[in-house]
Amino acid sequence: MSEHTEQQLRSTLKSELSSSNIYQPSSEQDAIFQENLARLSNNGSTKTSRVKHPWYIAVMLLIVIGFAAIIGQNYIGTSQVSNSDISSNNEMSIPELIAASNHLEIEIANIESNHNNPLHHIEILKVREDIVELDKAINQLYQSGLTSPNDDIQALWHKRLELARYLKGLYTNQYVMARI
């Protein structure tokens, strides 16, 4: 077997495999990670220390306020929260928010499989797009090198939970259509 052909095969395989489909984990895995992290820290495996850099927090706060304003503006007056729904008050911790958000996503997925009302279809797509944008913002915030702005992350997760709840409402007709 020619060494040259073998090398050629190897590099062709490399370029093919490197450009193969990219698969991503579901957001459910984020909640599982948070659970594991909380469990380990309860067992004393991790220590927490918090040092805040005021300028960094200020920048992040601006980003969060910006996001909250843009996305929140779209949903003012739209939510008629069902009593049976999951509460998303600001006292919920990040893992709780993630878990609640994922719980709603599972419910939405179940509803989606039986959903055949085309009336809200465009609105549903818009909300889903906003959720995707929020997910991107959350990921960017996590990856931005910030040290400890838990409040900012919490605000984004809080907003995400609200949107997920709104989305569920669109499917179950629990919300008044009053998008501004």
């Binding site: 050629q8 395989l13 698969y23 579901s26 990670f33 220590k47 990921n139 996590y142 400890s148």
Partner: protein, 190 residues
């Protein structure tokens, strides 16, 4: 999706001191490459999720021992591969191929198949078994030699070559199946 992530030294340092937020940042940096690699190898979402969480637990547990923050990318990738190897090893033995088996395949023929219209990468990866996918990936993408591969997986060098040659011979299977499918479609059209 590459393991070349840019987690800052500060974040790594904070993670080493047990900062949950920093640990979460590292999780978000690496969750995609880890899951993607695991899924490519195992072709199973549940087991890929298991790999993701296993690697992250190891990261939380062992990041304190990471001496150089520049090595985090390589370290995460190594832990990921090792977790995948552990899962494959738990399912099937690597060394089921006798050292006497001849390994041969035509690199030229393999190349022509990859460059042909029959080539379907996702289908090819589905056709291979886990051992073959792992060996092909480590050999072609990561650039391991069969000697290095044998040490990594814990098999003989000969065994590594045999597994690789089987993977290459599976390419022919793709062509045969495509031809059968095409001829059936042609017969139906007639």
């Amino acid at each position: 999706m590459s393991f070349h992530q840019n987690c800052s030294k500060k974040v790594i340092k904070r993670a080493q001191s047990g900062d949950k937020f920093a640990l979460t940042q590292i999780y978000h940096c690496y969750k995609q490459p880890i899951f993607n690699l695991a899924f490519q190898m195992l072709r199973d979402e549940h087991r890929a999720n298991d790999v993701l969480q296993t690697v992250m637990l190891k990261m939380i547990d062992s990041i304190v021992s990471l001496s150089d923050s520049n090595k985090l990318n390589g370290w995460m990738k190594r832990v990921c591969y090792n977790s995948i190897i552990d899962i494959i090893r738990a399912n099937q033995r690597f060394d089921t191929v006798s050292d006497d088996v001849v390994f041969d395949y035509s690199a030229k023929e393999s190349l022509s198949i990859i460059n042909s219209d029959h080539w379907d990468l996702e289908y090819y990866l589905d056709v291979l078994d886990e051992r073959e996918r792992l060996v092909v990936w480590l050999y072609a993408v990561e650039g391991y030699s069969h000697k290095e591969l044998s040490k990594k997986i814990g098999i003989t060098e000969q065994n590594s070559r045999v597994i690789y040659s089987r993977a290459m011979r599976s390419l022919k299977q793709l062509v045969r199946e495509q031809e059968v499918t095409n001829s059936r479609a042609g017969a139906r059209n007639e």
